[in-house]
Chain length 193, copies 4
DNA sequence: AGCTAATCGAGACGGTACGTCCCGTCTTAGC
DNA sequence: GCTAAGACGGGACGTACCGTCTCGATTAGCT
């Protein structure tokens, strides 16, 4: 383990300014309209400072996702013992976030970016961001053992269906159309008697 | 009504060459790597000939989708009376198409393009391409009346969940991982006794 | 011989605007301070329009020299039959031009540029510009035959000495110090009795 | 008078490494291609060490000239009492140095640098380097009093003509063309009977 | 058959952004 | 306080495409 490299240390303030600028500009400009040059000038930073640390604009966004700079919704799925209630709450929170146009644009931009960058795709889908899918899978597995899960489909498929339904709404719909939370929950959860 | 304008008629061969070039290049270059200039040179066509007839590269792709130049899967959902069999077949066909890397790349590019262009989004999601979702909704509504649909969720939500699950797999997964067709069908269809 | 290439013809007005901008900016900025980007914006032209036709900024300047866009002094050496008078006049004209600070800076910039570009060096020294040396050699050869040339040194060496003396003054002297025209003439011409 | 300041003393080895690197790189890269960054890495030195002691790359070159790091010719003009012999020898030595391509490139680079930097211009022309012009003037003045100088032109003008002829050859000629030493001497010196 | 007019491939145009190189300054730890 | 190292904000480089604008050469329908 080497203690410190020689030379000036990386500027944390520049790093943060760049990431904040990226997140601020993405909804406004869309992914393809977002340029490194714009991010640099918005952040008050030289272009080289960006290129020194990130290979692409997607990579900047990936780091933003991993650092939680895309606020607005909780990826956490509660576990109250009642699957129906937990899913309803989780979807409602997600829905509320996606009802906000800025956040909608941000997430669309992220999805586009993720298509063209493996690191961002991992960051977005696997680790935490968009649907918090792994956490959801875990919750559904728990529900399987307690008999609250409908049918016999694997928790992974159920989770992907729920998240996919939200993703579909996000990408396919122009207007801000909400998902039908109740129906989605009913799809997965064993109705309580 | 004027049947034909004076002057030289639009060249059908140029039109087709452009669309074929676009579809051929999209998987290779990705949406952002695809340029009008490249399409023009690939098609052996002047740039102006493209700009004369299409407002953007997304518009070219939209026309390609509408003309069925993106081969490889049938958007048709059969109606044999047996929902389980029909869905299984439809998903299997879709899955086979998406197992081919070239087609996968093509569809990813299309999804990206659709995010930034309303016309293409309509062409892709509503009219026919990706999931043929309206046809699916129709089939599920029919199944509801004949009691083959599980639970009480609306056909639209069910359709979006199925299509969303496929979309999620397309976008979120790096490797060519298949969807679990059986589980997806089980999610929606009332199991036969 | 092909009559015309296909495609839009080169814009003469852009070509002239670029060359005029280069000549206007060179004295003000010096050769190393002169940038392609500045020339382009001064000329109201895209950078690519410059790079399409010239490989370097020196090449632009070379074309300017060849087209006579660097006004201010006559390279012509008169031949009145009186070498002493002819040389005195030629040097006086040259001196007057070089007394003007703008022209001085221009010529300094040209000399610098010529060091790093073969084409410009030819344009500057051999064809016409700075000293009109070939014309001077010719005049001196004529004088040799009519016995007006002092000593036996070759006309080429004499010409280079005269031009060199001017060049030396141009490069080595900060302030606008004139050459001593009389002494230079005396160096070369047989004094009239 | 304080003999030494507190703190670490300036590194003489770094100073020499920088100047040697500059002189080594100048012929290879030309003046505009020579960068501080390249000099620093060639010298194995931090950039700041250069900027701390020199204001510009011309200043480094000026110091090189003053320290005699540009080897290859003697600026000294002998005084044997025989002007013709002394000039012939001086020009021959100069010519030999300038016949070497590396030295030629070096001197061209120096001349370019001198155009854009007053300090270097002084160092190059007035103090010692290129032509040792002041020494030459002195020698010619001596010759005037002893009647060895041709005509009545001022020694300064004669010196500038000789040096200018060499300078002209250096700048204007692509190939390594020699000056005609005999003719140049004849131009200035009273022929011995 | 000639005229008119919109098309075609080609490619130059004024621009914007790219990703790189270097500027001159600043900030590290080490001697 | 100097050193090597190297990050910083900035500016220019030369390239790739953008979408527009000529070019001369077709090629259709209408006189």
């Amino acid at each position: 383990m080497r203690s410190t490299r020689p030379g000036r240390a990386r500027s944390e303030s520049a790093r943060l300014a760049i990431m904040h600028a990226a997140v601020r500009l993405l909804p406004e400009l869309g992914f393809s309209g977002l340029t490194i040059e714009r991010i640099a000038s918005e952040a008050g930073v030289g272009k080289q400072t960006i290129y020194r640390w990130w290979p692409s604009k997607s990579a900047i966004l990936a780091e933003c996702v991993l650092e939680g700079l895309t606020p607005g919704f909780s990826p956490v799925v509660a576990n109250s013992g009642d699957l129906e209630a937990d899913l309803t709450e989780w979807l409602a929170v997600l829905q509320t976030a996606l009802d906000e146009p800025g956040f909608r644009s941000l997430m669309r931009g992220m999805v586009v970016a993720a298509v063209e960058d493996d690191a961002l795709r991992s960051a977005l889908y696997e680790n935490l961001a968009l649907p918090s899918e792994p956490l959801l899978v875990e919750r559904l597995e728990e529900a399987r053992t307690s008999g609250q899960l409908r049918g016999s489909a694997s928790p992974r498929v159920l989770a992907e269906s729920l998240v996919g339904a939200v993703l579909y709404r996000l990408l396919a719909t122009a207007a801000d159309q909400s998902v039908r939370v109740d129906d989605l929950v009913e799809l997965v959860a064993q109705p309580r008697r």
